[in-house]
């Protein structure tokens, strides 16, 4: 029994071991490995600028890379564009909370908002010069305003969040009405404008300048003035903002103006030129640049999506202009198109567009697509002769497109022929092209100004601005050198709008002008709605072009004014 005492030694020995082990606590406390915590960042102007660039990047996601998101949120919901039969996405014209395109658009807008909120909160305490803070903060506020503008125009009610909230709070945020969202947009823009440069130097093109913020501010006022908010006092506010940079005398200050030739608008040589109020840069990365060329890196697939059908299988041909838009182009009494913008807006059946330098030429006619060779164009008579390629040559055979009864018109604005292409082709056959997205164009600012002038009783003055745009059209080249054969050669000229028109007639004239000037540039739907004519136009379009995707039922015909003014909030939000 004496041994018991010693046996009790076991317990202290075990205790000692545990105490020795305790010093291991610090073992866990090493600094987070291979991770940049936010308190180590936002220390220099350069880092803060990186944070702002990340916020700008969301414009890339809404625009270039996933162009179809912006299309889905704009033109697909309008009367200009139709999905084609090759569409393998969710039915686009689908006012459903399940519509994935709506969900993506909603998501990217709010990501932009969050990144601006985050950056603004970090800028507040960043140890950098006050001037840098103000300048970068102004850009953040403009990006945030653009995102809220997108959300408010599409969904109407939305949460307004301008700060970083504790996570649980996000579930509790209430949804504000569209007018309140626009109030937030105007607040941000007014705060930003004084700290933005009037124009950026060549090295910084792509950033928001004062004119871009002002144009967005004017558009916000116009949204407040138009349907369904209908607060007409905002016309004057919009008009005043536009008066800062649209009139001839003000343009030089901001480096803005109209290009001589409408055909240059989508010409690469005029990227970030005088007509670009806000243009998102795209970039093709040469081999060895070390930047991934796959989806996700800047470099976009506009060409793939817009390309008229599956040439060599690559073109998605996912969208085309409607007959309704085709009919919008002005014609003379003989029914010949006299608007030269037509040439630079769409292809029509019978046109020959040179596709690649190494392969063959593709012809669209009303029954489908043909690969042709020995192409000859008689310029004197504008006639075409060719032989059809042997259709057993599998490399170029393709599916018959478009459908037998439809006449669809490929969007030409984002098409490049082989000699213009710089893009990279990956194994999946996708092209990353450096096609910039001209988000806000000066001719739109001019037409917006004309509209504001007309709505505030200055109809005659408005006519001058509309005619400026029409004159430029008339001064454009009738023949597009990029095409092999153009079935319709536009002749004649647009007549000038009469300064003595009634306010209503001028309104119609401006609406027409805006449609043809900006076709396929993603302003149509919000304009239609703002003008209160969405329901009428969509019903008419649906009757003319009944086909959407594989369905012969075009839901545009179901559009109900009042009920469909805004898109439904995506289901995934679990919120009203």
């Amino acid at each position: 029994m004496k041994n018991i005492k010693y046996k009790l030694l076991v317990l202290p020995a075990m205790l000692i071991l545990i105490i020795i082990g305790s010093c291991k606590k610090s073992f866990l406390d090493s600094a987070p490995y291979a991770v940049v915590a936010d308190n180590n960042f936002y220390q220099t102007t350069e880092q803060c600028k990186g944070a702002v660039m990340q916020a700008y990047n969301r414009t890339v996601h809404l625009g270039p890379i996933y162009l179809f998101i912006r299309h889905a949120l704009n033109d697909y919901a309008g009367d200009d564009l139709l999905r084609t039969q090759t569409d393998d996405f969710t039915v686009w014209y689908n006012f459903s909370p399940d519509n994935v395109q709506f969900l993506w658009g909603w998501k990217y807008c709010f990501q932009g908002i969050y990144l601006c909120n985050y950056t603004l909160s970090k800028l507040a305490t960043a140890p950098i010069p006050q001037a840098d803070k103000d300048a970068l903060g102004a850009e953040c506020k403009t990006i945030r305003a653009l995102m809220y503008y997108m959300v408010a125009t599409r969904w109407g009610k939305t949460p307004i969040i301008t700060d970083i909230l504790p996570i649980e709070e996000y579930y509790k945020v209430s949804f504000a009405a569209a007018a309140d969202v626009y109030a937030q947009v105007t607040k941000d823009l007014k705060e930003a404008i004084p700290n933005l440069p009037k124009k950026w130097d060549a090295a910084n093109k792509g950033r928001f300048s004062q004119s871009a913020a002002k144009m967005l501010l004017a558009k916000t006022y116009m949204q407040l003035a138009g349907y369904p908010i209908n607060k007409p006092e905002n016309w004057q506010l919009a008009s005043d903002v536009l008066a800062d940079f649209v009139p001839q005398s003000k343009r030089a200050d901001y480096g803005l103006g109209l290009l001589q030739d409408y055909g240059d608008v989508y010409n690469k040589a005029h990227d970030q030129g005088i007509e670009s109020v806000f243009e998102v840069n795209e970039m093709y990365y040469p081999s060895g640049s070390g930047i991934s060329l796959e989806v996700g890196a800047p470099g976009n697939f506009l060409q793939v999506f817009e390309q008229p059908d599956m040439y060599e299988g690559f073109g998605a041909g996912r969208e085309c202009f409607t007959t309704d838009l085709y009919d919008e182009f002005e014609k003379d009494n003989a029914g010949k198109i006299i608007d030269k913008r037509f040439t630079y807006t769409m292809l029509e059946p019978g046109d020959v567009f040179y596709v690649t330098s190494t392969h063959d030429t593709m012809l669209h006619n009303s029954t489908g697509k043909l690969y042709i060779q020995n192409v000859k164009v008689d310029k004197a008579t504008n006639t075409l002769s060719y032989t059809i390629k042997n259709n057993t040559d599998k490399s170029y055979a393709g599916w018959i497109w478009p459908g037998k009864d439809q006449q669809w018109y490929p969007n030409y604005k984002y098409l490049r022929n082989a000699s213009e292409r710089t893009g990279y082709m990956n194994n999946a056959g996708l092209f990353g092209e450096d096609l910039n997205v001209k988000w806000m164009r000066f001719s739109d600012a001019i037409l917006n100004y004309a509209e504001c002038l007309n709505e505030t009783g200055h109809t005659a003055e408005a006519a001058g601005y509309v005619n400026e745009v029409r004159t430029r059209t008339n001064n454009s080249q009738a023949i597009d050198s990029r095409r092999i054969y153009q079935k319709t050669i536009v002749t004649g000229a647009l007549p000038m709008v009469d300064a003595g028109l009634s306010q209503t007639a001028m309104r119609t004239a401006i609406q027409h002008e805006s449609r043809v000037e900006l076709a396929g540039e993603d302003w149509r739907y919000e304009n239609l709605r703002r003008w209160g004519i969405a329901a009428d136009r969509l019903h008419q379009m649906a009757a003319k072009s009944p086909q959407v995707g594989a369905s012969t039922f075009n839901p545009a015909g179901k559009y109900v004014k009042g009920a469909w003014d805004y898109y439904p909030v995506p289901t995934n939000e679990f919120k009203p």
């Binding site: 090493s30 990186g50 990047n57 005029h270």
Partner: protein, 1057 residues
């Protein structure tokens, strides 16, 4: 009076971590040597094979053969020590040359020692649910990996496979799933947790595998053990005669159950319905009828050679083995080659110091590129090769590699799968080192009053080097299937995981009290870094130019690194009173680097109680002749889980990726003036409150031994209740927080749910001899039911496929991984049915011949509100049984496994049954006859139409795609013959067994797709809107593109010297 302290030798520490000399040879005695022969039998006269016979005080020894016979050289007057597991040890002084003896059963049949984590215990003393699978049971099963060895062996343990690809080992679930995150058990090999699976382990090296199922058993491993522990003990040396075993087998494999694709005529029938026969008529008229799946497969082959040597004396024992295995898979260019070696030794340096070490080296080389999905997409009217004329007509300059392959660009087929395989040459190599060094100081031998107190220190490590090399050639098959560049991709990674355990154990028996105390600390660290580089545009496809140096453009490199650290304190008490009342209690405190400093530590207790009813005197008085052993057990315990795919989720983290940059400059279309400015931003929604997820598990069990242990029965009821479940809670999209790639949607790691899982495990075995016929029957059966019992805010957890939204949705009360979608109520047979009472389209986009979904909400409009849980991928029960006979030298074994009541969502069925609007995709053979037509309203598939069928499927799962995955399969059938020792006497060989074994001979199932077993291991194709990685609770998603499970036929031989 205490004895004088023995001074500690100065070189103690030096010895402590030094590998000792492996083999010791001791000189024998030069005396009158005689050969003693004899037979050892059990009380019921069955021979006891494998009984160890040692000469006391010497290293020499032998063991009995299958008939219980032995023969040993010794001297008269020496003492033989005869021992066999489950029987009491006997010592006999050598007088005669023949000794026949009967060993008594040791006090109970459950005397086997089992590992209980940082210590051992007699099996009879267990209070928790631990199952043991011994090597003997697994002998002669020609399997390449440990996971397949375990399949069906233990009630409550399921192994699911996501394909039969060489080197693919499947995943193990113990008692179903209990959490949204990590559901993998913890693997422990010889006391050291291993984090990278068991691929390195040669199954022949396994002595036994124990499965810790309940918390009381696993709690001692705390951290990462919430899903149970698989504890593997490798073979160790034994004192006595050295044993040499040599095993070899060779087998050939063919694919098991696979679903057939349409042949050329069946496909053309389908194309006609799509109105696309015109463009294809030309191709069809050429009469090709290619079975694309057949064109990518071959007969597989398996070979395996294993040499094991074990031996030693009382102080030093060793085990060493070498194994080589090579598997050629049934798909072209899929193989796995592995060479492993193991060195285990145990050395008693002093009476008070023992040093053990284990070292395993494994080198594995693998090619894999599962292309079943691709091959299935190609219609059979497309040929594999160009015709001779077509090849001759090719422009010589455009001829690249494999130019003889055809491509079917005309119908939108961009890749020829056979050509793809021919080009593919990615090689993975792993070199792994696993090992541990253990020093054990018996303090009682130094200070005698401390008898029973031992200090053990173990350093274990896991070191893996991986390299991957691939080369992509220049080739040209068509204007779309070509590459004008070569490419090389090299990746290297190294991984080190070390574990340092320091333990004091104290075991002592005071009259009827047996007490065991264990206390210690565990520290662990994992570090890893990897580096990858790629480049393209080499000069040619020459094999000697397939290196980075020879590539001149597109040079890219990248890498990553991580470090994890854990620390723990462990304590345990075991107590046994008179072999009747048993108690075990443990506590473990775990710390992890993963959570915020004030949230790092979790404490996890457990307690277990047992009652050996059959050892009570009253039980003996009851005199129940058929029941000889009865134990009741109950346990309760808690375990923690912190394993999530996020490091430092409590910190707000910043990153810059390509999805975050913006391009400036570019005026006048001048690309050279464009500058990519890297953007940086937050990547996560940090949660500083994040802490341990806790599983509380209760187990009530009983063990029965009947008819003198011929029939054994164990039954366990369990419940697992997991609180603070870690998962990625979906945040509203309008919160706007982007994930790490800058694009994906927003989630936050939270402790936000509760999951309840309960069930039953049953195990029974029956062993008997009827004359010379030996019979061994075994069966196990298990049931579990896992439900989400609470979700914070009841925000459903959703999982999306890339083309189908919310494949899985769970709200409170739903089963884990439940499929969520529409119920099909027949078809829309007429245009009138498409409209509802209000005259509005009832089901958006539906056409005649489409599925008619049930209107659950009653509003006469089909929308999201009409979705419900339509399938539970969890089985109602799983089972396995074996029927083994032996007669004379012959043995016949059969082993069956099965699952009942699990549902499979066959996504592959959907995509290949007419989904596409555009170019005709391939279809299953049975699609056209089973599709809706006006005459065939009772169809399975919707109408095949030019517009495709996707509108029927793309809104979510539908009931017709959800099928029963129940099956029963003959996993193994084996016939063996053991050559009688008479034949072998003079050869020095003590046993030869030759066998023929068939794996996966057949399966009984109603499942229409491929093998339902592989459909259970799920992968998910996700896209934006889905969760980043496939959560581990996902089961039963069949994309129809898995590598099939193989039927193999193997011949093998085992030789013992």
């Amino acid at each position: 009076m205490p004895k004088k302290l023995t001074p500690l030798p100065k070189y103690l520490l030096l010895v402590f971590f030094t590998f000792p000399i492996l083999l010791f040879s001791l000189p024998g005695f030069a005396q009158q040597v005689i050969t003693v022969t004899g037979t050892v039998k059990a009380p019921d006269s069955t021979p006891l094979a494998g009984t160890t016979i040692l000469v006391k005080g010497q290293s020499s020894g032998t063991s009995t053969d299958e008939r219980g016979n032995f023969s040993i050289a010794t001297v008269k007057g020496a003492t033989l020590v005869i021992s066999s597991i489950g029987y009491s040890k006997k010592e006999i002084k050598v007088k005669d040359e023949v000794i026949n003896l009967v060993l008594e059963k040791s006090d109970n049949s459950m005397a086997d020692v089992v590992v209980i984590g940082y210590g051992t215990q007699k099996k009879g003393d267990l209070t928790s649910a631990i199952s043991t699978v011994s090597a003997k049971k697994l002998e002669g099963m020609p399997v390449q990996n440990t996971e397949s060895l375990l399949q069906g062996q233990v009630a409550g343990l399921t192994v699911t496979s996501d394909g039969g690809e060489p080197g693919n080992n499947g995943k193990i679930r113990i008692r179903g799933v209990g959490t949204f995150g990590n559901n993998n058990p913890l693997y422990v090999v010889d006391g050291i947790p291993v984090n990278n699976g068991l691929n390195f382990l040669n199954p022949n090296d396994i002595e036994n595998i124990q499965v810790f199922k309940d918390a009381a058993a696993a709690a001692i491993y705390g951290n990462r053990a919430a899903n149970g522990v698989i504890y593997i003990t490798t073979k160790k040396g034994r004192s006595g005669k050295r044993q040499i075993t040599f095993d070899a087998y060779y087998g050939s494999a063919t694919n098991g159950k696979t679903r057939r694709m349409a042949d050329a005529n069946e496909f053309f029938d389908y194309v006609k319905l799509k109105n696309q026969d015109g463009p294809l008529a030309d191709l069809h008229s050429k009469g090709y009828n290619t079975d694309w799946v057949k064109s990518i497969i071959r007969t597989g082959a398996t070979q395996n050679y294993n040499l094991g040597i074990r031996g030693g004396n009382e102080d030093h024992t060793y085990f060493t083995s070498v194994n080589y295995s090579k598997v050629l898979g049934t798909q072209l260019k899929s193989d796995n080659e592995r060479l492993t070696a193991r060195l285990n030794s145990s050395n008693k340096m002093f009476s008070w110091l023992k040093i053990n070490e284990d070292l395993a080296i494994s080198n594995e080389k693998r090619h894999n590129n599962n292309i079943y999905g691709g091959a299935r997409n190609i219609p059979s009217i497309v040929p594999v090769y160009k015709t001779a004329e077509e090849i001759a007509a090719l422009d010589p300059t455009s001829r690249g590699l494999n130019q003889y392959f055809d491509v079917a660009q005309s119908i939108g087929i961009l890749n020829n799968s056979v050509a793809q395989i021919a080009r593919n040459n990615g090689t993975n190599n792993w070199l792994s080192l696993y090992g541990n060094v253990q020093g054990e100081i018996d303090l009682g031998k130094i200070i005698s009053p401390l008898e029973g107190l031992k200090f053990t220190s173990t350093l274990g490590f896991e070191r893996i080097d991986n390299d991957y090399h691939s080369f992509s050639p220049i080739y040209a098959l068509g204007s779309r299937d070509y590459s004008s560049k070569t490419g090389v991709n090299d990746n290297f990674s190294k991984y080190l995981h070390w574990t340092f355990n320091n333990f004091l154990t104290y075991n002592k028996t005071f009259s009827k009290h047996t007490i065991g105390l264990t206390a210690g600390t565990v520290a662990e660290q994992e570090t890893s870094n990897n580096f990858g580089a790629s480049a393209s545009t080499g000069i040619s496809n020459n094999p000697y130019l397939q290196v980075l140096d020879a590539q001149t453009q597109d040079r890219n490199s990248g890498g990553s690194a991580y470090k994890y650290t854990y620390a723990s304190y462990v304590g345990r008490v075991t107590y046994n009173y008179d072999n009747r009342y048993l108690l075990q209690a443990s506590i473990r405190r775990d710390g992890t680097y993963r959570f915020a400093p004030d949230k790092r530590w979790g404490t996890f207790p457990s307690v277990g109680l047992g009652w050996r009813v059959s050892n009570e005197s009253f039980f003996k008085d009851l005199n129940i002749p058929w029941l000889n052993d009865l134990k009741l057990r109950g346990s309760w315990g808690q375990l923690g889980n912190e394993k999530i795919q996020s490091n430092f989720p409590y910190l707000s983290q910043i990153a810059g990726t390509v999805n975050r940059g913006y391009v400036l400059g570019g005026a006048g279309g001048d690309n050279s003036s464009k500058v990519f400015v890297q953007g940086y931003g937050p990547t996560n929604a940090p949660n500083p409150d994040l802490t341990w997820e806790t599983t509380t598990s209760t187990n009530i069990g009983a063990d029965f031994g009947m008819f003198n242990d011929k029939l054994k029965l164990s039954i366990d009821y369990f419940s697992r209740f997991t609180k603070n479940v870690l998962y990625q809670k979906t945040l509203p999209l309008y919160s706007g927080i982007p994930a790490s790639d800058g694009i994906a949607p927003v989630t936050q790691w939270v402790n936000g749910a509760e999951i309840k899982n309960h069930g039953l495990d049953l195990t029974a075995s029956y062993n008997t001899n009827i004359g010379k016929l030996g019979l061994d029957l075994g069966a196990n059966f298990s049931v579990y039911k896992a439900r989400v019992s609470k979700l914070n805010g009841n925000i459903p957890i959703q999982v999306n496929d890339e083309r189908i939204p919310t494949v899985i949705q769970m709200r409170q009360g739903d089963p884990l991984g439940a499929f969520f979608g529409y119920t099909v109520d027949g078809f829309y047979n007429t245009a009138e049915e498409l409209k509802n009472k209000a005259g509005v389209e009832r089901q958006q986009g539906a056409q005649v011949g489409d599925f008619k979904f049930r209107d659950l909400s009653g509003d006469d409009i089909i929308d999201n509100k009409d979705k419900s849980v339509i399938g539970d991928p969890n089985p109602k029960f799983t089972y396995a049984f074996n029927v083994n006979f032996n007669y004379e030298g012959f043995d016949l074994k059969s082993f069956w496994t099965g699952s009942y009541g699990n549902k499979i969502y066959s996504i592959g069925d959907i995509y290949l049954s007419g989904w596409d609007e555009g170019g005709p995709q391939n279809v299953w053979a049975d699609v056209v006859p089973n599709s809706w037509t006006p005459q065939h309203n009772n169809a399975i598939y919707p109408k095949v139409s030019p517009g495709g069928t996707k509108r029927n499927f793309e809104k979510g799962p539908v009931t017709t795609s959800i099928q029963s995955g129940s099956y029963m399969r003959l996993k193994n059938l084996q016939i063996g013959y053991t050559f009688s020792d008479r034949l072998l006497k003079k050869t020095g060989i003590s046993g030869i067994r030759a066998y023929v074994s068939a794996e996966n001979l057949f399966i009984i199932t109603k499942y229409k797709g491929d093998d339902p077993e592989i459909a259970n291991g799920a992968r998910l194709n996700v896209n934006e809107g889905g969760q980043g990685n496939s959560p581990s609770y996902i089961m039963g998603l069949d994309y129809g593109d898995r590598y099939p499970i193989q039927k193999t036929l193997t011949v093998g031989v085992s030789v013992r010297f």
